[in-house]
Symmetry: C2
Subunit: 150 residues, 2 copies
DNA sequence: GTAGATGCAAAAGTTTTGCAGACCT
DNA sequence: AGGTCTGCAAAACTTTTGCATCTAC
């Protein structure tokens, strides 16, 4: 998402494109893995040294509403975010290096219909993540097992 | 899971069956929905008034390792737990009252295999939850929409 | 100019930890 | 008896909030 398109997207909702927001989006767009908020903050300060932690929290939440990023539920204690392309993305996350691969077709419709019939629920959402180890982390070098999310 | 079986399960790992652990398991087993830790604590004190919050945290984590309960990631800010029957359970959660229905067959093997081939990941786990509204919460009475998880 | 956004700092929570003493087996 | 577990209280964090100030438009 470039600067112009983002400004447009924000403008449609009466929101503004600020330096903080650009910094946070740049950080998350440039990362191949999921980042906790504190890490987003650390990186964002390199782009905009004056940014405050509260703005980072406010911005990741905004970006999540706009579906430009997605909150992940990892084994960690705190929330992580990862870049996303629209509504129907799910992620395959490497437990070694944090690499997050997005995939789209989750083919859960049939399961959902069966479940809905059986339980008499009206199902309106789901959450799904896969965990594993990426090829790089499996390739054997110990160092790659400990590499930080990039 | 009854008292004897639980003691056996714990004993196999050199762990002990204490009053606190019984209280926490009783609370979570008796609940039809997911509970946040603070709520588990509140209910557990009715069974064992002397129990401490730290023990509740330690115990839910232990029970999760034993796969007797499962952590859920809801829209809430803090972790919730729900009773579970073994490794392969997933949950359908009512966003109205918190009712959590467990279901077993998730039939994701084919999707997993395709993903693994395409991404060269070794996939070793997944996390899935469905959200919706249960029949009771949909039935129209306003009160049921606000009922606390039971 | 003005509404929206920010930074700061404090507050509100949740979760973890250290340790002396209690408890289970 | 001996190691496991607990309650307590403090600490460590994460996340939220209020408000004066700033800024994007």
């Amino acid at each position: 998402m470039d600067r112009v398109a983002l400004r447009q997207l924000l403008h449609e909702r009466g929101l503004r494109l600020t330096r903080s927001r650009q910094a946070v989006l740049t950080v998350l767009t440039g990362a191949s893995g999921h980042l906790k908020v504190a890490e987003v903050y650390r990186r964002a300060r390199k782009i905009d040294p004056g940014i405050g932690l509260a703005s980072v929290y406010r911005t990741v939440e905004l970006l999540a509403r706009l579906e430009l990023v997605k909150p992940l539920h990892t084994e960690h204690r705190h929330r992580h975010y990862v870049r996303a392309n629209g509504r129907h993305g799910h992620h395959l996350v490497c437990t070694g290096c944090g690499l997050a691969v997005e995939f789209a077709d989750c083919q859960l419709e049939r399961l959902m219909q069966r479940l809905a019939r059986r339980t008499r629920f009206h199902i309106d959402g789901h959450f799904m993540e896969f965990f594993g180890r990426c090829a790089n982390c499996r390739s054997g070098s110990r160092s790659s097992r400990r590499r930080a999310p990039c």
